[in-house]
Symmetry: C2
Subunit: 332 residues, 2 copies
């Protein structure tokens, strides 16, 4: 069987482009005792991967030039020399971008095809959904009746954040980059109101109008001037959940902006970044709660599915161009 992988050929400078990647034909090794043969079925593309393409120290090592990119993957077990897995099982894990691969079986989770569509385990029931859940509960301490502002609000994490806010009885306002996204946010995900940052001249006033009682919790996926507008309207004891800063990830110079420390001091505000992987103890309860909301219909999700292994680079690049409406996934 023909096998392929996608490697990091060159580190991106600014926006990622096709030339940063290369698709290579590879051989499939033997399946040794205890190992599995896996076939990738769905592969997740995520903004945070941009960070691993930089050559700098971080909580996970950077991708190496000439080695395959790695992300969350749903795979089918084609053959198993490991008693814990059977041929035909589906598993979820952090895997390299390969069509077929041999795996030790360590750090994989089995997923149930009957309970939810397979791709949901990369999104609403995977790290995406858990990120929203853990961020709001463990970092944001969101309480009933508060005002919740979310950026990247039509995206995979953002749309889940907004819906959890609604379930919790909060006033939920989303920020996104097109009127179409705003419509989806409101009609599909039930946000109370939305702001199109691309057509809004004065973000501070727009946030003020949409959040007449101020912002209690801001779930930040983007950073930059949208964060500034959120902090300009933050309430005393406000919490900023620093989940992402996609507006800055491609910056080639140090981005500058207004200083926020006086606001933090004067209003007893907290800003906190987090990595969902540090909350492994909460994964089970989070997935259970999200699955139950999904089944009751209180929670829904969008995904943008690209078809074909070779579309992985363009799907990833599309994340930075606002192409996706919901979780971006490649169906192999």
């Amino acid at each position: 069987m023909d096998n392929k992988q996608i490697i990091l050929k060159k580190r991106p400078e600014g926006n990622p482009e096709e030339a940063n990647f290369e698709i290579q034909a590879i051989k499939t090794p033997e399946v040794e005792e205890g190992a599995l043969l896996l076939k990738s079925v769905y592969i997740s593309v995520d903004p945070y991967l941009r960070g691993r393409m930089r050559d700098e120290k971080s909580y996970i090592p950077p991708f190496e030039i000439g080695k395959p990119i790695e992300s969350s993957v749903i795979a089918e077990v084609l053959a198993s020399n490991n008693s814990e897995y059977n041929k035909g099982d589906y598993v979820h894990g952090m895997l390299p971008w390969k069509l077929i691969q041999v795996h030790s079986g360590n750090e994989l989770q089995k997923v149930d095809k009957e309970q939810a569509p397979l791709s949901a385990y990369l999104g609403i029931l995977g790290l995406t959904g858990i990120t929203a859940y853990v961020g709001l509960n463990k970092i944001g301490d969101l309480k009933k009746g508060e005002t919740l502002l979310v950026s990247g609000a039509s995206g995979a994490v953002g749309s889940t954040v907004g819906q959890i806010g609604k379930i919790k009885g909060c006033h939920v306002v989303g920020i996104a980059g097109s009127d179409e996204k705003l419509t989806i946010m409101k009609e599909k995900f039930g946000f109370h109101s939305g702001i199109n940052y691309k057509t809004t001249k004065d973000m501070n006033s727009a946030v003020k109008n949409a959040c007449p009682e101020g912002v209690d919790v801001y779930f930040d996926n983007v950073g930059g001037e949208i964060l500034d507008a959120a902090l300009a309207n933050i309430n005393r004891y406000g919490r900023v959940i620093n989940c992402g800063a996609i507006s800055l990830y491609n910056a080639t110079e140090t981005p500058k902006g207004p200083r926020h420390e006086t606001t933090l001091v004067k209003k007893s505000v907290k800003m906190q970044g987090f990595i969902v992987r540090d909350f492994k103890d909460d994964f089970e309860s989070a997935t259970k709660q999200l699955g139950s909301w999904l089944q009751s219909g209180e929670l829904t999700y969008s995904e943008t599915i690209k078809n074909g292994f070779d579309t992985l680079p363009s799907a990833f690049i599309g994340l930075f161009e606002g192409e996706n409406k919901g979780k971006m996934v490649v169906k192999v």
Copy 2:
């Protein structure tokens, strides 16, 4: 008896100056049933008072033009029509800047002259000491063996922060604005090392050299470029305690600087402002612990005492010129 008060005459623009204040002769009212007659003995001057001189919404209302400034005061009870207080008692409370005043007796605490010098209740055993204690424990969650960086390190709060860090078994580095202050920090307060920000060209490298294992907790009294240098060297899971931002309080335009949200996201860093008054439940235990360290000699303090009620405006102005070495107090 001649009585006086000091009012806010004009709101400061930029640095505060003598013309912002006025000393006025006033009459002393009758002491009604249930009330006390108080004579100010020690009056605290603090950087945060600058914030109340601005005409803007905050957690405590701004000072009014034509009305007296208010701060922490130790007063002697000259006469009492209140069964809870006796003539000759000493009390601590938030009081207007008056020589003599009538008071209801509400929200005053008695202080014990035998246990510590009276002025200590405005500093190490007052809000200053409690701010250091609560900030490190409730916001910073400082742990044994961590690296603690403190700015305004020879000041009243900063020197207490550093000493608590030492007691907790941390590597403690202080930042201050003169070599003399650095010497005091190290010799009197036991800091491991110090950085003179006024003579240091590259603060990022200076912090890096002084904190070879990175910064786990940064207790920020100043904001601005010193905060930037701390964040440039912050460790994963680092905590910034935003206690003050004195370098920005006199700014007349919005101060700008590098954006920090990417650091917060990538290193799971927390930045949090707080107001010591929100931790009233911890006051008793904090004061008890601080008093016990004071008696055992593990904790010491500096104070700069100015003499005479009329020196209050110049003592306050001096805070912004680095005049004080430790808690600034006016002896009436």
